[in-house]
Symmetry: C2
């Protein structure tokens, strides 16, 4: 039933197919995305697409995987605060500049579906590996205790942005990135 | 085309319809939820359901609105830390005890759709009003500076839980609620 996987990462027309997938996702959302639609929009035969990706979730996961939209640059700014602000700002840009926001909502919409939820989990693990040096450097500098769990810091900061922009659908005030980073690093409680 | 709205909040069989909606959502997820399915499961005529809720999103929003699953109890524990732990623990329970988790994923899946995203926004605003006394009391006690924005605190704490459980799909270590509340209140940075 399964064809043997070819060499390379997709059919010759992969770029056109990925691009059509993003276009249609932005236009119609997750529920409006169909392989038939991608075939028509990319002018690639439907059976070619199905030969590589058996479902729309598989196609969407592959599209996100190769997309630059979800890429992260981790720079060494010399301080934990600066490094974290750099990462959080990229999360904000990813979710506010289209097609990133639409793609993120589509991925959230697929959390009920094994194929897509697996992709989202893998995506987060990959990012956690990219972000790891930030925390290693901070611990070497003595800015962070050895026992601080980096995943908790990412949950707090990335979670705040996702929750505010996607769930609460509230605007981002100026200086919000700096405010949440400072809250997590120095705390909100007044020392009285 | 539109019937005048009747008195009351739904048809006589509303409870059965809501209950069938939650059942089918847990069983089949958002995409598998249909008004036809709810009609069959609740044994209420399809046209009766459509008369009250013109779409599955409208029905789902009404179901969530009246559901106890999403209720929040805000107790005065005497300290900001205790009050926040109480609220965060309820978010954890909501997202980990079914049908809460499935409902939350269904709501996230509908963020692309005006009807459901409007409901999610209203739900968050309602909760923010319920949580407001926590921050007012903390400011009166001198635990929190006057200019701290409560929505940021909720973004950080609720965001961390949503992000960890739904997006990253990672387990919750013991003491996680306390750890994120303490991080936000006292900060993670080592004073060196």
């Amino acid at each position: 039933m399964f064809r043997a996987k070819r060499r390379g990462k997709g059919p010759r027309d992969a770029a056109a197919i990925y691009s059509a997938t993003v276009d249609l996702l932005v236009l119609n959302g997750y529920e409006g995305l169909t392989i038939e639609g991608v075939a028509a929009h990319s002018k690639v035969n439907k059976t070619t697409i199905y030969r590589w990706w058996p479902s729309k979730d598989a196609l969407l996961a592959a599209t996100l995987e190769q997309s630059h939209i979800l890429e992260l640059t981790v720079a060494d700014t010399g301080s934990l605060r600066g490094d974290l602000i750099g990462v959080v700002d990229q999360v904000v840009r990813m979710l506010t500049i289209e097609p990133g926001g639409r793609i993120a909502r589509a991925a959230l919409g697929g959390l009920d579906r094994p194929g897509l939820s697996f992709f989202v989990r893998m995506f987060c693990e990959k990012r956690a590996k990219q972000e790891a040096p930030i925390f290693e450097r901070a611990k070497q500098r003595g800015e962070l205790a050895e026992d601080v769990d980096p995943t908790m810091v990412v949950d707090l900061l990335a979670g705040a942005i996702w929750f505010r922009l996607l769930v609460r659908q509230a605007p981002m005030p100026d200086g919000y990135t700096e405010a949440i980073v400072d809250a997590v690093l120095t705390g909100l409680r007044q020392s009285s």
